[in-house]
Symmetry: C2
């Protein structure tokens, strides 16, 4: 008799963005003429840049000829892309990597979801809270998160990040953590971590033999020179951290699918018997067995963002989104709201003013009052309650219009 993996049944039935879509649809049915502006889901809106488009056409043409056709690529990705990454994202910051420490994938969501396969089912995990739901859900599916009660998983250590602690998570003291997920610039709060703070985490990890899964998907939005783009800017991180990158937000690749993951060769984890096992060959084995490489077209597209034209064009789109972020920050502050993030990240995290105590309630009030969609903070974890997230991934025009409506609505309240 085939038995089901019952850990799946412990997952809550609601998906954050599906719930939002349902509520927005209900509103639209009732108000068919309303023009709803979405600052909810973190998806990009601007077209791919010309350098990327050119590279994709060229790669497509290659596939039309006997000489240029490419079948299975390496599961780890093509060297042309791995070399461009190594040179531009790391060497330029003084970080030395081996080319086979870089694994190209179809995106950071897959990799952050799959990476937990490398560790024992009973490792304890720690997360900053609020958090990108994939980190926990992927652990829950294999039983590592325990059981869910009152919005919290029994085997997960939550490290609250709120206005009260200035969004700096406290290193857990009361309970040992085997694996810690960090995401900086942070989704959903848009806040960042300084080198000094990140060094504390690396030192903790080295001292306690803790593994850090570091999600750097939003690093391209960093403008402040003191903020690290990679955990490997911190000495010792090669011994304790795996890092995830994505082209989704860097270059608008949410529909193209390409990202990469760094697994340093020094990185090990222990067996029960106390032996050390290198994780780089294990991840290689995982990818070689359950993945067949990323689309050749997508890899050529990613390579193109590292050309001089590509860099300039990609930066122009990032600047475009960050203009939205800055406009949102200043407008919302001007209206008296407490807002965070938005300076080195495309997300604005806003404290709900007293009166609407719950983030789902505020979400609905804003939808019905201003026809603007945000994301309720509690959808990202218990410490997200009392906040909502706005994204900067819209056009200037829609962002300005949304802010005008929020202003009018706020004044009328």
């Amino acid at each position: 008799m085939a038995l089901v993996n019952e850990h799946f049944l412990k997952l809550p039935n609601n998906y954050l963005f599906a719930d939002i879509a349902k509520k927005v649809n209900a509103f639209k049915v009732m108000h068919p003429k309303a023009d709803v502006i979405t600052l909810g889901i973190g998806d990009v809106t601007q077209p791919l840049c010309p350098a990327v488009i050119k590279a994709m056409h060229k790669a497509t043409d290659e596939m039309a000829t006997s000489q240029g056709f490419r079948g299975y690529g390496p599961e780890q990705g093509y060297d042309f892309l791995r070399e461009a990454i190594l040179k531009n994202d790391f060497l330029s910051r003084g970080i030395h990597l081996d080319i086979d420490e870089i694994f190209i994938s179809d995106g950071a969501k897959s990799d952050t979801g799959n990476i937990q396969e490398l560790i024992r089912w009973d490792n304890s995990i720690g997360v900053t809270d609020p958090i990108y739901p994939v980190y926990i859900d992927s652990n829950a599916m294999i039983g590592r998160a325990g059981t869910m009660k009152d919005g919290k998983w029994s085997n997960v250590i939550y490290m609250p990040c709120t206005a009260e602690n200035n969004f700096v998570p406290k290193i857990p003291k009361e309970r040992h953590v085997d694996v810690i997920y960090l995401c900086y610039p942070n989704n959903p709060t848009g806040t960042v971590i300084s080198k000094q703070e990140l060094r504390k985490w690396v030192n903790y990890a080295l001292k306690n033999d803790t593994l850090i899964f570091y999600d750097a998907a939003y690093q391209a939005y960093i403008t402040d020179p003191d903020i690290p783009h990679s955990i490997y800017e911190i000495r010792g991180a090669r011994h304790c951290a795996i890092e995830f990158h994505s082209f989704s937000k860097t270059a608008g690749f949410t529909g193209i699918r390409c990202g990469y993951t760094i697994v340093p060769k020094e990185l090990t984890a222990a067996t029960l018997g106390g032996e050390r096992v290198e994780l780089n060959p294990l991840w290689n084995r995982r990818q070689s067995t359950k993945f067949n490489g990323t689309s050749y077209i997508s890899q050529r597209a990613a390579e193109a963002i590292y050309t001089p034209e590509g860099k300039e064009q990609v930066q122009a789109t990032i600047d475009y989104y960050m203009e939205n972020a800055h406009l949102m920050l200043s407008t919302l502050r001007g209206l008296g709201y407490q807002v965070f993030g938005g300076e080195n990240a495309p997300y604005i995290w806003m404290k709900i003013p007293s009166g609407s105590s719950q983030s789902w309630q505020f979400f609905e009030e804003l939808l019905y009052g201003a026809n603007v969609v945000c994301t309720p903070g509690v959808g990202f974890g218990p410490s997200g309650e009392g906040y909502v997230r706005f994204t900067a991934f819209n056009s200037h025009e829609s962002t300005q219009e949304a802010l005008d409506r929020i202003e009018k609505w706020t004044i009328q309240r």
Copy 2:
């Protein structure tokens, strides 16, 4: 302390195709002037057809405009592709599916590797032998396969398929099997299953509450009208089977990455407590959490193979490969070899003539004697010993040249 998933350490260190590449390279270093022809790895060689190329250019151009740009697609795939699949691959054969029983992915390797996440870690699994290694390795990584000894996993039930039983696996009687992997047309043997034989498996599964994972990646190569293209041609299969499809071999997409998986809504598995759980929402949850959809370009490429031009062009390439297969069959038979498959599949499975008893030995003799690369059968499992696999995925010219060399070499031996 982070502990490693020690199940990974039970996997044998050698990868079949990496071992082959190593041996071929060693030969090339010693014989730099030799012109080696590869009939080893199952990768396509012919360019993408014009309809696909046109669709990819068009999709790329869409992504360059604000109106046409697409960000995150549905994790389950775009409806335009799901509808084309439903209509062309199933309705045309009298199989009715719901659109949300079709899950688009980046290829059948990912899906056949990930599907085991839905079942408990201690289900028993049965495989035909020889077999595509991903089925077992993906189970081994989570501990389900047990431990490896003398080339066999302790918790895997092997069902030998050899010339002696005409490559028809026997339904296991001595031990109950919770989950069975079937692949037809078969990789590596190139043999097929009749409706009558497949019906026996479906009936067994229904009677024993066994789940069938049915890999139909090579169905496009079937020419015989009595051979099923889908397990859902068999009554009752919707209650016991998940089916995997790929565009890799159908349309040369090994570098483009697109496939799909069918999870019928009737399909359930049991909890320990005896409740039935539907697997369709579970797979949906798995994909929504750890996957972010397939490249838009790849999905438009796949859609194009269902247009009238696309169908014709794709069929022409399949016919091209099958001409190779038929030439190989007749030539090798003419030389006195016992060969199987190759009639409804792009693979030829050849019994090694007495004298070279081991498939690795024959592989080396053929490489050094005729400069032709095959795949040693034992690399696909214990019952593959004594056989080698040839693929039809080469040009006519190279296939003919390889056969000429094999002929000369055979006569001289």
